[in-house]
């Protein structure tokens, strides 16, 4: 599973990345988490409100930092 965190590096982006890693640990899933910070790539995903979460090239969430539990819900199906 490939996970990308889209965002220019603001506080919310770092919060989303940290919570995503926690949720992955909860699920016992190993995944590659990378931060995408350059604007053309971010907008290339169709995202305007950051931070956004991309799982295997699909945007699953944009514009907010969800709870750890909601992230587990978002990350679980493709892993199962």
């Amino acid at each position: 599973m490939q996970i990308k965190i889209l965002g220019p590096g603001c506080a919310n982006c770092h919060a989303l990345e940290a919570r995503t890693r926690e949720a992955l640990t909860d699920l016992g899933v190993t995944a590659e988490v990378t931060a995408v910070t350059d604007y053309p790539s971010i907008v290339g995903y169709g995202v305007m409100s950051t931070p956004a979460l991309v799982v295997d090239e699909h945007v699953v969430l944009a514009g907010r930092v969800p709870s750890r539990g909601q992230l587990r819900g978002l990350l679980a199906p493709p892993a199962a």
Binding site: C13, V43, G44, G46, S49, V59, G69, Q70
Partner: protein, 353 residues
């Protein structure tokens, strides 16, 4: 890890069904606290502590306590409601609403949507690219970007709490006019080559995400609660310092100093206020208690509003962000047009208030 982290949608229905009741109880509690605030401190400060209502200490302490509680209640209540209302809009929906409209009408819509759309300043650049690359005219996009920080809910709530409904309404109205006119003028005078070329070559593939699509009511309420908590945690030191300063100046500072230096008759006061305010960067909570204190000491309202607008609407961090997509010429025009519009507002209010 308890059940706290389970997504709202999968939680047993009880919490969702109790939600209207919980909200009604919270609203009632809020109302009781808001209405009971001044009588409570009358009782505590004047009766229990025995301070004189006419003394400097008595009125200062009462002012500090009552104002702190009042502004905290206003902030929490209105940010909570505003966040829930905004969760029905998203940048994506706003862009769809703005696409294909004529300039002029679209500038008005963009200014209004700039207030209503949930937006964090760190999204300014992706939003700009997303709007412009999707065909929203440059001036319309700029109207949106001017309105969003200028008319923020913290500023409006604090203005209402400190100066009343009339000033808060004037602030919103003039902010909308500044954003509409500023964006329109910029759209007219600025050629597209003043935008960094990569903005136009960015391709928008991937399905646009509608952020509000999957939100349930418990999600929206949780968002509102989080946002109110987040803003309160961020602004409380400024707020307390500002109110304490206000309470002190309330009783002790010479009354007519600012009236002489920067009253309505001084033609340079708004100009100096805007020149000082543009490079300054602060949130509205930090600047407003200062503004209240200066107003108490006779500084003209138009000058003060112009100062506040230039502090929140134009800031160095935001300009540095926007430099990524705007060439220096356009950035300079942006600052010039917005600052001029704010200045004109300041003079207008000094003349009519």
């Amino acid at each position: 890890m308890s059940t706290r982290g389970v997504p709202a949608a999968t939680r047993p229905g009880g919490a969702a069904r109790r939600l209207p009741l919980t909200l009604a109880a919270a609203a009632l509690a809020w109302l009781v606290m808001y209405l009971g605030n001044v009588p409570l401190w009358d009782l505590v400060v004047y009766r229990v502590a025995g301070l004189e209502p006419d003394s400097r200490l008595g009125s200062g302490v009462h002012f500090f306590l009552a104002d702190t509680v009042k502004i905290t209640l206003l902030l929490v209540g209105i940010i909570f409601v505003a966040t829930i209302a905004r969760s029905f809009l998203s940048l994506e929906r706003t862009r769809a609403l703005l696409g294909g409209r004529r300039e002029g009408v679209a500038n008005v819509a963009a200014a209004g949507l700039g207030v209503a759309t949930p937006f964090c300043s760190c999204s300014a650049v992706p939003a700009f690219i997303g709007f412009v690359a999707a065909g929203v005219p440059l001036g319309v996009t700029l109207s949106f970007l001017i309105a969003s920080p200028l008319i923020n809910e913290v500023a409006v709530v604090l203005l209402y709490g400190m100066f009343g409904l009339r000033i808060a309404t004037l602030y919103i109205g003039s902010g909308l006019v500044i954003a509409t006119v500023g964006g329109y003028v910029l759209g007219r005078v600025c050629p597209q080559r003043w935008v960094e070329p990569f903005v136009y070559t960015t391709t928008l593939h991937g399905a646009p995400v509608v952020a509000g699509q999957r939100l349930s009511w418990p999600d929206r309420v949780a968002l509102g609660r989080e946002e109110a908590g987040k803003i309160l945690r961020k602004v409380w030191p400024y707020l307390l310092a500002g109110i304490a300063l206000g309470a002190a100046i309330h009783g002790w500072a010479p009354t007519d100093f600012f009236a002489r230096a920067a009253g309505a008759h001084n033609p340079f006061a708004p100009l100096i206020a805007v020149l000082l305010g543009v490079p300054l960067y602060s949130n509205a909570a930090g600047i407003l208690p200062l503004i209240q204190a200066l107003h108490d000491k006779g500084m003209a309202m138009g000058t003060l509003l112009a100062f506040m607008m230039s502090v929140v609407a134009l800031s160095l961090p935001e300009l540095i962000l926007l430099r990524r997509v705007l060439k220096p010429q356009l950035l300079a025009a942006f600052v010039g047009v917005v600052a001029t519009a704010i200045l004109a507002t300041g003079y207008l209010f000094n003349a009519i208030l």
